[in-house]
């Protein structure tokens, strides 16, 4: 590296001089002549540079100051899950041709990513029971926000209200609320978090653009959705379903019960929790809304010689949806997350995803049964008799926060989600997630620990 005072360069001195000559300037300083002089080249208070080895040492140190959920009992879910990730996934993600590429604007140089996205769309449509899927959104919450914008556009000016189940992930509700700040639309959420999906119907009227339910819902419960779509449609609104892609390996797809838009967070499909991101937003809908489908969509076509190929298609639709509310600005998406999900789904395959879902179901039911046997601990107290998938609520005799602290300190168990954080008055409740990675021994340890905490 050659030091030239303020301006350093990677180029050798000879190269640098030749470049300056070609440009036709006297010195490199001149390149920044347009920047106001008094503000040019500020001295920045940043730590000294680090060599690669020192950098690795420093960041490994910071990584060690976190408690990863990878190799210890973890019962925390609530929108981010510990599922098994087959080795094929990271093998593919580490291919430089994929992860260092930009959005595939030039299809002749991007057939690999384009075909992978096409296959992703194909599998997402199968899983959700929908006809069209985009090539990903940022995460489940932003997918929901844009699904709501789609519904507001599709149902016309007179409808500016969204009826949302209180059992939709509270963070998703927050994000949707932020997104709607630029519109005159509002979200109506009934107070009672235990309300069933059918209990939303009295809130639906001629101003409703969409009804939003999560299934399985935030508390892990299966919603009774049969017939809901027909009523919602009869009232002129759309049905948006927030789903769990793992559950779709086993349970009826939302398309089968009449959903108009299906969104989900795709993190369970081969992505590590990443402290919440990057994740993957799944977004699928019916063909009639294809022009309102935001983000990138890959379509199949042919080259000049008739050979099959793939391109980004419908690229113009955001501009052509004329009403303000439908406009999306999405550009960058979560393509690599979609690639991970595609490899995951291909690796698990038809029987594999079903088995993962069955394991989640069986293990969570085993855990619920064991915990319900602990005196003074209630399981799904507000939802007796309702089915659940991989998460359930337990009610304790003391704040969930304290219980989690004891579980961690005394048992090295990462406990559940403290519901008091989002639902005032529910401080003694915790949402537990049990996946295929929780062993029976882990579950038994948790039960044992909980019994000790409440006694």
């Amino acid at each position: 590296m050659v030091n030239r005072g303020m301006i350093e360069s990677r180029h050798s001195e000879t190269e640098h001089a030749e470049m300056i000559r070609t440009i036709g300037i006297a010195s490199a300083e001149q390149l920044f002549a347009d920047v106001p002089k008094p503000l040019r080249f500020p001295s920045l208070d940043l730590p000294e540079p680090l060599a690669e080895a020192d950098l690795a040492r420093e960041l490994r140190g910071q990584a060690r100051r976190n408690t990863p959920i990878e190799d210890r009992p973890c019962f925390l879910g609530a929108g981010s899950y510990r599922h098994f990730i087959p080795a094929t996934v990271d093998y593919v993600l580490q291919r430089g041709e994929f992860y260092t590429a930009y959005t595939p604007y030039q299809p002749e140089l991007s057939q690999g990513m384009l075909q992978a996205m096409f296959e992703y769309q194909s599998m997402i449509c199968q899983l959700t029971g929908m006809e069209v899927s985009n090539a990903s959104h940022y995460d489940g919450a932003t997918s929901l926000a844009e699904a709501i914008l789609l519904a507001l556009d599709a149902t016309g000016d007179a409808r500016d209200r969204i009826v949302m189940s209180p059992a939709v992930h509270p963070h998703y509700r927050e994000v949707a609320t932020t997104y709607l700040q630029g519109t005159n639309a509002e979200i109506l959420v009934p107070d009672d978090p235990a309300i069933a999906a059918s209990g939303l119907l009295p809130f639906v009227d001629s101003s409703t653009a969409a009804v939003v339910v999560q299934n399985p819902n935030f508390f892990g419960l299966s919603e009774q959705i049969d017939g809901l779509a027909q009523v919602v449609h009869g009232l002129g609104a759309l049905l948006i379903v927030v789903s769990d892609p793992i559950a779709l390996g086993l349970f009826q797809p939302p398309g089968a019960y009449g959903a108009d838009v299906v969104v989900a967070d795709g993190q369970p499909l081969g992505l590590p929790p990443n402290f919440g991101g990057p994740s993957l937003g799944i977004f699928a809908t019916r063909r009639e809304h294809i022009r309102r489908l935001v983000g990138r969509v890959v379509g199949e076509t042919a080259d000049t010689e008739g050979r099959r190929g793939y391109v980004l298609t419908l690229a113009t639709r955001e501009q052509h949806i004329r009403r303000e509310r439908a406009t999306s600005n999405i550009c960058t998406n979560s393509a690599l997350g979609a690639l991970a999900a595609a490899v995951y789904l291909a690796t698990l395959g038809k029987p594999g995803l079903r088995e993962v879902a069955e394991l989640c179901f069986n293990k969570s039911h085993y855990a619920a049964k064991q915990i319900s046997a602990i005196p003074k601990v209630k399981v799904n107290a507000n939802a007796q008799g309702r089915d659940f998938f991989k998460e359930f609520v337990i009610e304790l005799t003391r704040p969930a926060r304290d219980v989690n602290a004891i579980l961690l300190e005394d048992h090295e168990i990462i406990g559940g989600y403290d519901l008091g954080g989002s639902f005032p008055g529910h401080e003694n409740q915790m949402l537990l997630a049990v996946t295929e990675l929780n062993t029976r021994a882990e579950i038994d340890n948790l039960v044992h620990a909980l019994a000790g905490v409440v006694s």
């Binding site: 301006i7 360069s9 640098h16 470049m19 440009i23 490199a28 390149l31 002549a33 503000l39 920045l44 940043l46 540079p49 960041l59 910071q62 100051r65 408690t67 959920i69 925390l76 510990r82 098994f84 593919v92 291919r95 041709e97 992860y99 260092t100 002749e108 140089l109 057939q111 690999g112 990513m113 296959e119 194909s122 069209v132 995460d139 963070h171 997104y179 630029g182 086993l250 009826q252 089968a256 919440g276 990057p278 990138r296 890959v298 199949e300 042919a302 008739g306 298609t313 406009t327 999306s328 600005n329 960058t332 690599l336 038809k350 029987p351 179901f361 069986n362 293990k363 990462i414 295929e436």
Partner: protein, 497 residues
């Protein structure tokens, strides 16, 4: 690979569904160690519609697909306004450490202090680089950063009883996401023309400054690669009229450690970590678009953000800015990208960041100098990190798209085409700082040869590319037929059940 036979009925690579055979599997799952619970039969599906393949099939499939893809690791990728620089490999390793990749977003703060320290460190670094009072790492893409910033401006006007301010000025060279974000945030976008030097026409800004002005969206350097020569005057006009100045930080790679946008008067700006701070683009994402804000808008930043109190236990924790517009993503933004960007800044320090900007600008001007005889530059000033040429060499009828496709035959990714719109047949070229002079020279030679071909052998351009797995693709057919799933294409994946 040259295409010789006239018709190709066999695809280059069959889809997963075409390769699927019932009964095949790539993985087995652990046996259940708990008793089966009774499944609710009525809610079950008969078939989840996924394909069935072996592990070796899957690995070969994706390996072959990767070989049909071009990334920065494959070669020079001068895609303007996208900053396709080299992505340091150490950052990939670090972001995959279990202590970063396998932590849950809802874990107790005490168990993720290392992660919070990194987030806090990045917030501080972005404040320092940008000259801002506060930063939020919530937005997960540049476009989301734009929307967030505009929602902040909207909220601030509303708090001041200025809710009638509904106009956002957007220069005609702005990224297409700018007007779209303005509309999403409920504003009316007012397009401002460019002047003869490629700057924002300041008289048009003055004419548009009235009591309905909410703010202006400025990209500096702009998408012509030019530094706004009168940025101080523009900021003053907008501020005097009661508006805010939003900075689109997409082109920040030209200015790191060269000037602080906050000191230029920018009130709020997004950074593209996937451009300026070398996090990989992932084939289209994930990105990350954190915001820096000056004192007037800081309290409106989206949250949570990370706060540091050396006296508290734990020292780092999440908090909401006072008047936060709320949450933009389910959790804390794209943490995996934040780790990479933090590592990048940490490795370079202030000196390295300035070297980057200087080399990015040097490389762009060098290429501009080498190419402008054949590819005229309509606003021919010293440029910043990129420049825009007209892709129509004298004496030929070649178009920018033909030149781009022909470049592929030389092993280069094409520049951005047809943008910005105010330049005809635009070729927007951003070499970035991580390219050597040899690479720049090889690219320049290829471009000059293509210009000669455009005159002497125009069919070479019209029929290009010749060396890619497929030739030019029929985009009209794709848009007309809208085949977006394997099922729609071939019905090979059966019924949805």
């Amino acid at each position: 690979m040259t295409n010789t036979s006239p018709k190709h009925t066999e695809p280059l690579e069959r889809t997963l569904y075409e390769q699927s055979v019932a009964g095949r599997r790539a993985i087995t799952l652990p046996k259940a160690d708990v008793p089966d619970a009774p499944l609710p039969d009525a809610q079950l599906r008969a078939d989840n519609g996924l394909p069935e393949l072996s592990e070796s099939q899957i690995v070969r499939h994706y390996l072959r697909l990767s070989q049909m893809n071009f990334g920065v690791d494959s070669g020079f990728y001068p895609l303007g306004s996208c900053t396709m620089k080299h992505n340091p490999k150490i950052n990939e390793q670090l972001a995959r450490l279990p202590g970063f990749a396998s932590i849950h977003p809802l874990q107790d703060a005490a168990t993720v202090q290392g992660a919070l320290e990194i987030m806090h460190g990045l917030q501080e670094a972005l404040k320092e680089i940008g000259g801002f009072a506060a930063a939020s790492l919530q937005p997960v893409a540049g476009a989301q950063g734009e929307l967030t910033a505009l929602l902040m401006i909207r909220a601030c006007h509303a708090d001041r009883g200025q809710a009638h301010r509904d106009r956002i000025l957007v220069p005609d060279t702005a990224h297409g996401t700018n007007p779209a974000s303005a509309r999403m945030a409920g504003f009316l976008a007012v397009e401002i023309p460019s002047d003869a030097r490629g700057n924002v026409d300041i008289d048009a800004v003055r004419a548009a400054c009235d009591d309905r002005l909410a703010g202006i969206m400025l990209t500096n350097p702009n998408t012509l690669g030019l530094f706004e020569e009168r940025i101080g005057d523009i900021v003053e006009l907008v501020h005097a009229a009661g508006g805010f100045v939003y900075g689109d930080g997409a082109n920040m790679n030209a200015l790191t450690a060269v000037v602080r946008p906050g000191e230029l008067g920018i009130d709020v700006m997004h950074f593209n970590l996937h451009k300026t701070f070398a996090t990989p683009h992932g084939g289209g994402g994930p990105g990350s678009g954190p915001l820096g804000a000056g004192a007037r808008l800081a309290e409106y930043l989206p949250g949570p953000v990370v706060e540091h109190d050396p006296a508290a236990d734990p020292r780092y924790r999440f908090a909401r800015p006072e008047r936060s517009i709320g949450r933009m993503t389910a959790f804390h933004g794209n943490f995996g990208m934040l780790v990479r960007a933090f590592a990048y800044i940490r490795a370079l320090g202030a000196a390295g960041l300035r070297t980057n900007a200087a080399d990015a600008v040097l490389n762009a001007n060098y290429l501009r100098g080498r190419l402008k005889s054949e590819y005229p530059v309509p606003f021919d000033r010293l440029c910043m990190h990129e420049f825009v040429s007209e892709g129509r060499p004298e004496g030929s009828s070649a178009r920018a798209i033909d030149i781009s496709k022909r470049l592929m035959d030389f092993g280069f990714h094409p520049p951005t085409n047809y943008f910005p719109l105010i330049v005809r047949e635009a070729l927007m070229i951003e070499p970035t700082e991580t390219e050597t002079k040899e690479t720049l020279d090889a690219f320049a030679e290829a471009m000059l040869q293509i210009a000669a071909e455009a005159r002497d052998a125009p069919e070479k351009l019209r029929e290009a590319p010749h060396a890619t797995p497929v030739s030019r693709l029929d985009e009209v057919k794709a848009a007309r037929e809208r085949i977006v799933t394997d099922r729609a294409a071939r019905g090979s994946d059966g019924e949805i059940g």
